[in-house]
């Protein structure tokens, strides 16, 4: 009985996470059972996007600073992980100028992705610490500057990235369930970070930075921690994505992708995990669906380039006019409170009058 009480108490405070994980898991299961190769592909991308967008939410949603550099860390994670996971033969073929030190390294898939994510986090930590003092427009422009710098380096550092050309020969390790597992882990991580002490301090600094520093919150430090976690998640998503798509160029990590993930986050509402999840699911399906239509029209000789983006951008503008805080406006979905539950709660916390 006590166990049941404890569970219902846990469920009442954590119902959001259950309500988010269960439908996502169902979606993955249904895909596994009924899905064709197209759905399989879309859902795999969806869960990678989920990790990526939740990474963005971890920083942007909690700190209120618009981060344009996020996709750059995804790029770093993708390239860094690939350098460790590719076989020496594949590396010799696609990256002939690679440094000898890296030439013969060959590590398991997940270890490589983890290393890639750590490298992304390290870059974010070094670049980010001085930037965390900036807010508003200055922060937006510097974040944008960081994205441009990362892009320029990726395009020109031929020894490691094959320059502007496509890097190929990556093995496909990211299956549906790998992506689902880490997407769901991302939900849990982002949720509990938001609810943690640091997350709370970060959100306090977002709502009023003077009041927050008055009560002793070191804004630069909490922002920095959030930023590093955010870059780590983006880097991890990048590693997973690289081992799913298997060939890519630096241009996959620039402005149109930045727009796509910003749309995913903003549609649902950047302030909450639920908003990020709903936005990612909705935008990924719309994005991939329209992309398919676009491609099939183009195959038949029609010119329909850019239709997906036009549609997404128009709907995003309309949505921002209608609800500038996103569909959910930063709230979390949670189980509606029932009488019996609040009684359980009273039993546990002693007999207080409500």
């Amino acid at each position: 009985m006590n166990l049941k009480l404890q569970f219902s108490k846990w469920f009442r405070t954590n119902s959001t996470i259950v309500l988010l994980l269960v439908p996502l898991l169902l979606l993955a299961l249904l895909t596994q059972i009924f899905g064709g190769s197209l759905l399989y592909r879309i859902v795999t991308v969806l869960f990678i996007n989920l990790l990526l967008v939740l990474g963005l939410q971890t920083f942007m949603g909690n700190s209120g600073i618009l981060s344009f550099s996020h996709i750059g860390y995804m790029g770093i994670g993708a390239y860094a992980s690939v350098l460790f996971s590719m076989t020496p033969e594949a590396k010799a073929a696609t990256l002939p100028d690679l440094y000898p030190l890296l030439q013969n390294v060959h590590l398991p898939f997940l270890v490589s992705v983890l290393i890639g994510a750590f490298i992304a986090m390290l870059v974010a930590a070094v670049l980010g610490y001085p930037l965390m003092r900036l807010s508003d427009a200055a922060a937006v422009i510097t974040m944008f500057a960081v994205l441009v710098i990362i892009q320029v380096v990726l395009v020109h550092w031929s020894a490691v990235t094959n320059g502007p050309r496509t890097l190929y020969g990556v093995d496909n390790y990211t299956t549906l369930w790998v992506s689902v597992a880490f997407g769901l882990l991302g939900v849990i991580l982002a949720y509990y970070f938001k609810e943690s002490n640091i997350g709370l301090m970060l959100r306090a600094s977002r709502d009023d930075r003077y009041a927050a520093s008055t009560i002793g919150i070191n804004i630069v430090n909490v922002r920095w921690l959030g930023f590093m976690l955010s870059a780590f998640m983006a880097g991890f998503a990048g590693g997973l994505w690289a081992h799913f798509i298997t060939s890519f160029s630096p241009y996959a990590f620039y402005l149109s992708e930045t727009f796509a993930i910003l749309a995913m986050l903003v549609v649902g509402g950047p302030g909450g995990i639920s908003g990020a999840v709903i936005g990612t699911v909705a935008v990924t399906f719309v994005h991939e669906g329209l992309r398919q239509i676009e491609n099939s029209v183009n195959l038949q000789g029609g010119g329909l380039v850019g239709f997906t983006e036009v549609f997404l951008a128009t709907s995003l503008i309309a949505l921002l006019i209608w609800r500038p805080g996103g569909i959910l406006g930063g709230r979390e979905i949670s189980w509606p409170r029932r009488k019996s539950q609040s009684q359980d709660d009273q039993l546990l916390s002693g007999s207080e009058k409500s």
């Binding site: 850019g306 951008a313 503008i317 921002l320």
Partner: protein
């Protein structure tokens, strides 16, 4: 090394950059909006040149050019009215994302409606001619861009100093809320700022497209980045800062091209943005300070 043609070329580059920065800052000063759709205004002016140049061969070039500038100003006004005005009061982040969305929308609309491939823009003959000056050949285009910039800056400062609208614009950049309390209509001021912004984008577009004599859907990205850097160098909060920043950008960029070793030349853009980050860290209000801004903590 510092010959007359290097000097003129640098000055001409600086003039373009200064006009770009000015167009961005005039909106930023009032709305605090970093307008990501600014680069697309150049693209629109470029496509207007292409379309009008293709439609009629009888229209003289300078009429086409003036029409292109006017179209850019009109589109700038339309984006303000349709997209920015409804979100303006709500949140800065919403406005920034809106501007990013407008940029994506315009760029992809060009892809969808016209073509991903480059399109030729009409150029008058004198754009490709040059004159001999102190022993070196100077393209007329470069001299023209310097003259245009000087004339436009003069006209704008007259407008800002001696007309009611100009004074309202300056007051709004100083303290928007107070200006509104004094009875200046907010929509009028903001629309004017957007129109001036589009006007400058259109003027720069004529010179910018002339470099390759063509226009592509992504042509707006590079000038946008230039305008960002120039604004930050000069200071985001006043117009003089933007102009100074634009010229400084031209000078620094030319010098980097001259001094950087070959293998680092590709990273020139990265160096420019590194300068931006350093300036924002150590002198966040730019070289020329306007009003106190509270953009930094710690």
């Amino acid at each position: 090394m510092l010959t007359i043609d290097f000097l003129i070329n640098t000055l001409s580059l600086g003039s373009l950059y200064a006009m770009l920065a000015l167009g961005l800052v005039i909106v930023y000063g009032i709305l605090k909006l970093v307008n990501f759709a600014y680069g697309e205004l150049l693209m629109i002016a470029g496509y207007t040149l292409y379309i009008l140049g293709g439609l009629s061969t009888t229209l003289p070039w300078f009429v086409i050019a003036i029409l292109a500038v006017l179209v850019a100003a009109a589109i700038s006004y339309l984006t303000e009215m349709i997209a920015f005005r409804p979100v303006r009061e709500k949140s800065l982040t919403a406005m920034l994302i809106t501007s990013f969305a407008v940029s994506t929308l315009l760029q992809n609309a060009a892809l969808l409606i016209i073509s991903p491939r480059a399109r030729a823009v009409p150029l008058p003959d004198f754009f490709s001619q040059s004159v001999a000056l102190a022993g070196s050949n100077i393209p007329i285009r470069n001299i023209l861009s310097i003259v245009t910039a000087v004339v436009l800056f003069g006209a704008l400062s007259l407008l800002l100093k001696y007309t009611v609208l100009g004074i309202a614009l300056r007051a709004a950049a100083d303290d928007f809320r107070m200006t509104r309390l004094l009875g200046v209509p907010a929509n009028l001021v903001i629309s004017t700022a957007f129109i001036i912004s589009g006007f400058f984008a259109g003027v720069v577009a004529i010179f910018w497209t002339a470099r390759t004599a063509s226009v592509t859907p992504t042509i707006g990205a590079a000038p946008l980045l230039v305008a960002f850097v120039a604004c930050v160098i000069g200071g985001m909060s006043n117009l003089l800062g933007a102009v100074v920043g634009g010229y400084l950008y031209g000078i620094i960029y030319s010098l980097l091209s001259l001094w950087l070793p070959q293998y680092l030349l590709d990273y020139r853009e990265a160096f420019m943005f590194l300068i931006v980050i350093l300036i924002l860290l150590f002198r966040p209000s730019g070289l020329i300070r306007g009003n106190a801004s509270s953009e930094r903590v710690g």
